[in-house]
């Protein structure tokens, strides 16, 4: 299908973007890479009156280390993250997750900030941001503020961004010695949205786990932390027995939402499979 008609504006400054959002409210949508937005417009799931194309704001591009964090500008593409040596060094979880995002042509256009602001519970970047304990940098009429990933994802496609705020960057802490991570997805075909996906992060000292985060994608209306199972893992040595116990704990802890083809029971089972695989695969 073709998108319904809309007006288009391409601002030259973030301040102009903010005033357009204030003026047009819900009638306006921000266009970054457009890889989710344009699909939903073509299917007429969404019919905004105005698209505000932020693609000309070069200040929102780029990857750098700043104040002990890896800061990734909102307009950085998935492909740029996938190929970045800085990301591989300081946030290798992102390097591991990037190839799972759709397909190359989509990764060439889709953006880090667009994915996080869209907040699809089946998408990789919201899951990774939460697993790394990162933060969103938002700019509004009163200036910039940081929102922790733990507070950012609030519901189905709903975030803590105010209607007149723009997500300008996402930050994650730099990987330290002893930090470990694991990531995988179960999907019918490469590049499809995952039936269930998982990011694990934490520290490991002489095999003993600490500060573990388990974040699930595709099971709830937001990326979901499994806090009870995280607590069960901390302070223990990850062996096969622990992986089996953790998988059982996770299946008891979560209450997955079904999708068109997969029941809650299927997702519950697969979440346990993933956790067990990731814990066994990354054991020192």
């Amino acid at each position: 299908m073709k998108a319904a008609a809309f007006d288009y504006v391409k601002p030259r400054s973030i301040d102009q973007v903010i005033s357009l959002l204030q003026e047009h409210g819900d009638d306006a949508r921000l266009l970054a890479g457009g890889q989710s937005l344009l699909a939903s417009l073509n299917m007429r799931l969404s019919e905004p009156r105005l698209l505000v194309d932020i693609g000309g704001l070069d200040a929102l591009r780029g990857i750098g280390v700043q104040g002990g964090m890896l800061r990734i500008g909102a307009l950085t593409t998935h492909t740029e993250i996938e190929g970045s040596a800085l990301v591989a060094q300081h946030a290798p979880l992102l390097s591991a997750a990037a190839p799972h995002i759709a397909h190359r042509a989509i990764r060439n256009a889709g953006t880090w900030g667009g994915s996080i602001a869209h907040a699809d519970a089946s998408a990789e970047w919201p899951t990774c941001l939460l697993a790394l304990g990162g933060a969103v940098v938002a700019r509004g009429p009163k200036g910039e503020r940081r929102i922790a990933a733990d507070d950012f994802f609030q519901g189905l496609y709903a975030t803590a961004l105010a209607p007149d705020e723009v997500l300008v960057a996402g930050e994650v802490p730099l990987a330290t010695p002893g930090a470990w991570f694991a990531f995988d997805e179960l999907a019918r075909r490469r590049g499809d949205y995952a039936i269930v996906g998982m990011a694990l992060t934490g520290r490991r000292t002489a095999g003993v786990l600490a500060d573990t985060r388990i974040v699930l994608m595709g099971v709830d209306s937001t990326p979901l932390r499994a806090r009870k199972t995280e607590a069960l893992l901390n302070g223990k040595v990850a062996d096969e027995a622990l992986a089996a116990t953790a998988a059982a704990s996770l299946r008891a802890e979560i209450d997955p939402l079904p999708d068109l083809t997969n029941s809650p029971e299927t997702k519950r089972h697969l979440a346990g499979v993933l956790l067990q695989r990731l814990l066994n695969g990354t054991r020192a």
Partner: protein, 167 residues
């Protein structure tokens, strides 16, 4: 009705200045406004890959890119790449390996294949399959397409080796 928006875009080396409706996506623009019918429109929501074109040197989904977003940029379609000869080896290999039947997916498939052989010259068979997973083909079962791309990877590697040896 939304106003038309003026754009300047270089397509296959030629600068075009046009006015487009903001909702017009890039593939409708190249097909209907410029008359370049080699890029195809399949699903129109980013799944099938038939509309893949090159924008500023990288493949994109033509149905998930607006023509207005291409303002000031450079677009290459299958017509341009065919004319310049940069994918001649891929096209020959597709014919030789019988990697197309109806041809609907072929222009998008060649776009993906071009980016692959340029960006991942050492790709193995599994990586080729993964790379083209965003382009649907309903005729060939993919096997012949993977064969053709692997042939070209090997040919280009051999040619690069010869150039190095003779320098």
């Amino acid at each position: 009705m939304a106003d038309l928006y003026p754009i300047r875009v270089t397509v296959n080396g030629e600068l075009h200045q046009c006015s487009v409706a903001p909702r017009t996506h890039l593939v409708d623009f190249v097909r209907d406004t410029l008359g370049l019918k080699g890029s195809h429109l399949g699903c129109e929501h980013g799944v099938c890959g038939a509309c893949t074109v090159e924008f500023n040197g990288r493949t994109v989904r033509g149905c998930l890119t607006l023509a207005v977003q291409a303002d000031g940029g450079t677009v290459n379609t299958i017509e341009g790449l065919s004319r310049t000869g940069v994918i001649r080896d891929l096209q020959d290999a597709f014919v030789q390996r019988n990697a197309l039947q109806c041809g609907f997916c072929t222009s998008g498939m060649l776009m993906a294949a071009k980016e692959l052989v340029e960006q991942r010259p050492d790709a193995n068979r599994a990586e080729v399959r993964e790379w083209i997973s965003g382009n649907y083909c309903r005729c060939t079962g993919y096997h012949a397409i993977v064969d053709a791309i692997c042939d070209v990877l090997q040919q280009r590697k051999a040619a690069a080796g010869r150039m190095e040896a003779s320098s």
